[in-house]
């Protein structure tokens, strides 16, 4: 069950393009703030100088080495997590389906941590390019593996059971915690350092190659999410009626699961586990633009980007130059939100 809202779609019909445009502006201004703000503040003129090639050396290196990769990764993370969340929630008709809650992020984490620890153990001489590709690939495989497990185990009588999904998510998160614990135990000092930074989650630890891989995969996946808008609408009828109405249900589910695992894997590899964006962004999007997925998907992506950038600005600026992990900020917003959802949905969950 989706949220029992009082959305009356005809009223918001003309409003939707405006809302999406407004969210675009919001994301854009946060992106500018991400470039301009920090220990060294920069004005529009300075930013312009840097991008037109006439900036001074310090400004240049701050933007190109620190803030631009950060911003780029933030855009990739926000887009990937929110679109994956929207797709999962739509496909499962379940507002609690978040890549983190049902264990996809944990799967990606197992993959990434294995790559960090075992990659360093097995092949410390590996060329840099291979090492950078190893992390996303391992994270994707982990995410895909968990996704397949979760979906197979939670099927009851031809439909995916919501309650089972959440419980399996809890179990998988626990198992993943144990596996990561073992890997941490066997890790050497260098791996331990990388791992600690990575597992706190953050936009600032990844270099350009990893950032570009994350952005590239996210950009490649975005149109694939887009094309399933009608499919996600039809899923709201239940899988059988969606089939009757012309949707290849099994294929759509496979495509969406793979696309979600790939994008969540890519950004988790680069930024570490960042929770709750995939839960919160689609909800806010539906509150603003209603339930037609051709509007929910873009609104959700822009909200995801805005949330990630806002959280990053908060952790960077709150006690600068200290930088607490971004995961703390997203969990501080997302945790209470999830509790609120749970209490609201308690009754329908007990029927699920």
């Amino acid at each position: 069950m989706m949220t029992v809202g009082t959305t009356v779609e005809h009223r918001s019909h003309r409003r939707q393009p405006l809302v999406v445009a407004g969210l675009g502006l919001l994301a854009l201004s946060l992106a500018l703030a991400e470039l301009a703000l920090g220990p060294v503040k920069m004005g529009i003129a300075q930013l312009w100088a840097v991008f037109s090639g006439s900036g001074d050396t310090l400004d240049n290196s701050i933007i190109w080495q620190i803030r631009l990769p950060r911003l780029t990764l933030g855009i990739a993370v926000g887009t990937a997590l929110s679109l994956a969340g929207t797709a999962l929630q739509g496909m499962l008709r379940n507002p609690l389906a978040d890549p983190g809650l049902i264990g996809i992020t944990a799967g990606a984490s197992i993959g990434a941590v294995s790559a960090i620890v075992l990659g360093n153990l097995i092949a410390p001489e590996l060329p840099l390019m291979l090492q950078t590709a190893l992390l996303p690939v391992a994270a994707f495989l982990g995410a895909m593996l968990v996704m397949t497990c979760v979906f197979t185990l939670s099927r009851r009588g031809g439909e995916t059971s919501v309650a089972m999904l959440i419980l399996i998510g809890i179990a998988i998160n626990t198992i993943a915690g144990a596996i990561i614990g073992v890997l941490v135990y066997v890790a050497d000092d260098q791996a331990l350092r990388d791992l600690t930074f990575w597992s706190m989650g953050g936009l600032g630890h990844a270099g350009w190659p990893v950032v570009l891989i994350a952005l590239g995969i996210t950009l490649a996946m975005t149109p694939l999410f887009w094309r399933q808008g009608r499919g996600l609408d039809l899923f709201q009828l239940g899988e059988r009626q969606a089939f009757h109405a012309g949707l290849d249900v099994e294929r759509t589910k496979r495509v969406l699961a793979a696309v979600a695992a790939l994008s969540v894997g890519a950004v988790t590899a680069a930024a570490g586990p960042i929770g709750f964006i995939g839960l919160v962004a689609p909800h806010l999007a539906r509150l603003l633009v209603g339930y037609a997925h051709r509007w929910v998907l873009p609104a959700s992506a822009l909200l995801g980007i805005s949330l990630v950038l806002a959280a990053d600005l908060v952790v960077r600026l709150a006690i600068a130059p200290q930088e607490p992990p971004i995961g703390i900020a997203t969990s501080l917003i997302g945790g209470p939100f999830f509790l609120w959802l749970l209490t609201r949905r308690l009754r329908s969950l007990s029927h699920a």
């Binding site: 989706m2 009356v8 008709r93 609408d233 709201q236 009757h244 109405a245 012309g246 949707l247 339930y291």
Partner: protein
């Protein structure tokens, strides 16, 4: 023509359908009747192409529905499941358009939507959220959605069959008639209509032919007055019934004898 020959289905060692022969011609209204668990819905799933493990021969205008992809099937036939649900608060209007193939121009979709809203008496509800409606109102909304899909399929060169599973369940008398009038009108316009019903009198009044099922087997098939006879129905449902033939065929349980036996 929608045709099944020696259609059988066994799942998990249990025979759900065995040796069903049926034929649904364009313009014909066929009612499928039988006790709970007789295999009526299973039969409909086979005919609609959703259940693909049946053996025997199945042809929808010359092609096996089990071999067609979902999008092709959606243009060939429209299906209303038993107690359909929706989990997002779409407006009635938006829900009705949800099943329309995208190939159809938006103007035509709007026109068909208006037609369905009129046909199913939904104009007062059109902007309401579906989740705020009563069960019966939701049911009518889904019927309207299915009608739009049927008409749209025909405009796109397919669209001949309407399959509905208990379309009158949870509806008041007036709206039972509204929904079945829509189905009858579809038959009059040349669509083949198959409806699973429980009310025998209602079925006798609306259907051209009736198919009786029990335990996955065909008990009888033919015109209502041939099929709905007292001995057959008493054996089928296991209770005394009264069949009155006059200007209207009426079937009711023989309540006096039912209560006396209890």
């Amino acid at each position: 023509m929608l045709e099944a020959k020696a259609l059988s289905l066994t799942k998990g060692g249990k025979t759900l359908l065995s040796d069903i022969d049926l034929c649904l011609k364009p313009g014909e209204f066929l009612a499928v009747l039988g006790p709970n668990g007789a295999g009526k819905s299973t039969l409909m799933h086979c005919l609609s192409g959703a259940e693909r493990r049946a053996t025997g021969q199945l042809r929808m205008d010359g092609r096996d529905p089990a071999s067609l992809d979902a999008a092709t099937l959606a243009r060939q036939r429209a299906v209303l499941e038993q107690s359909p649900r929706v989990s997002a608060p779409y407006s009635v209007e938006a829900l009705i358009q949800l099943g329309t193939p995208r190939e159809l121009p938006i103007g035509e979709i709007t026109a068909l939507t208006e037609q369905a809203i009129d046909l199913l008496d939904l104009s007062a509800l059109r902007h309401r959220s579906v989740l705020q409606l009563s069960g019966g109102e939701q049911h009518r909304t889904h019927m309207a959605r299915v009608m739009v899909q049927l008409w749209a399929g025909q405009r796109l060169g397919g669209g001949c069959y309407l399959l509905v599973d208990e379309p009158t369940a949870s509806l008041d008398l007036q709206h039972q008639i509204t929904v079945l009038r829509a189905a009858r009108q579809a038959a009059a316009e040349g669509y083949g209509v198959l409806a699973i019903l429980h009310d025998l009198t209602l079925a006798a009044s609306v259907a051209h032919r009736i198919l009786l099922l029990k335990d996955g087997r065909m008990i009888a098939e033919g015109q209502p007055q041939e099929v709905l006879t007292r001995p057959r129905l008493e054996a089928l449902y296991g209770l005394p019934v009264r069949v009155e033939t006059g200007d209207m065929l009426t079937v009711t349980p023989d309540y006096a004898r039912c209560w006396a036996a209890a």
